[in-house]
Amino acid sequence: EAEVAQSPRYKITEKSQAVAFWCDPISGHATLYWYRQILGQGPELLVQFQDESVVDDSQLPKDRFSAERLKGVDSTLKIQPAELGDSAMYLCASSLPRGEAFFGQGTRLTVV
């Protein structure tokens, strides 16, 4: 069964260090999302791609976060420098245009 792949599953990093997450969407899904989910809350959209183009990054803290999807397939989300408040689950999802979003298992980030 096709699924969204994310790595790593868990990441512990020291504050001020750089960290990167990777996502491979379901094959053929042009839309890719990165969400951040703080414990006890719903996922919040960080960035949305349509193919290789960013269509929404209004909630992405651009001073420290960056996202790319160079070939319109897999995507990387980077944080530099990481702060304690960045500890959260980072979720990637993909969808067909106007279709339901399928989520990966997420990357649990702990900043110490």
């Binding site: 006890g40 996922p43 269509v55 979003a101 989520f103 997420g106």
Partner: protein, 109 residues
């Protein structure tokens, strides 16, 4: 109920009973709605969806109802099972997928 801080509202039901989970959405332009189930440590899992030209859609043991007049969405689960215990989120979209606050469903054996 209303969530306070990190505590999600909780719905506790007896195994075998029907569950109704409610959600109010905010964007009147939203035209596509999805219910997700999230188990601890996992990503959200698609349950059922509905488009704004419908007011009811049924799946296996689940039914979604949409009331656009009051911007209300509900998820009904028939014969609730222990495996249904999870956090449930409604999500709405027009151009981007936005999640509600989530409700914890706890099934008593």
């Amino acid at each position: 109920g209303e969530s306070v801080g990190l505590h999600l509202p909780t719905l506790s039901v007896q195994e075998g009973d029907n569950s109704i989970i409610n959600c109010a959405y905010s964007n009147s332009a939203s035209d596509y709605f999805i219910w997700y189930k999230q188990e601890s440590g996992k990503g959200p899992q698609f349950i059922i969806d509905i488009r704004s030209n419908m007011d009811k859609r049924q799946g296996q043991r689940v039914t979604v109802l949409l009331n656009k007049t009051v911007k209300h969405l509900s998820l009904q689960i028939a014969a609730t099972q222990p495996g249904d215990s999870a956090v449930y989120f409604c999500a709405e979209t027009h151009s981007k997928l936005t999640f509600g606050k989530g409700i914890t469903l706890s099934v008593r054996p």
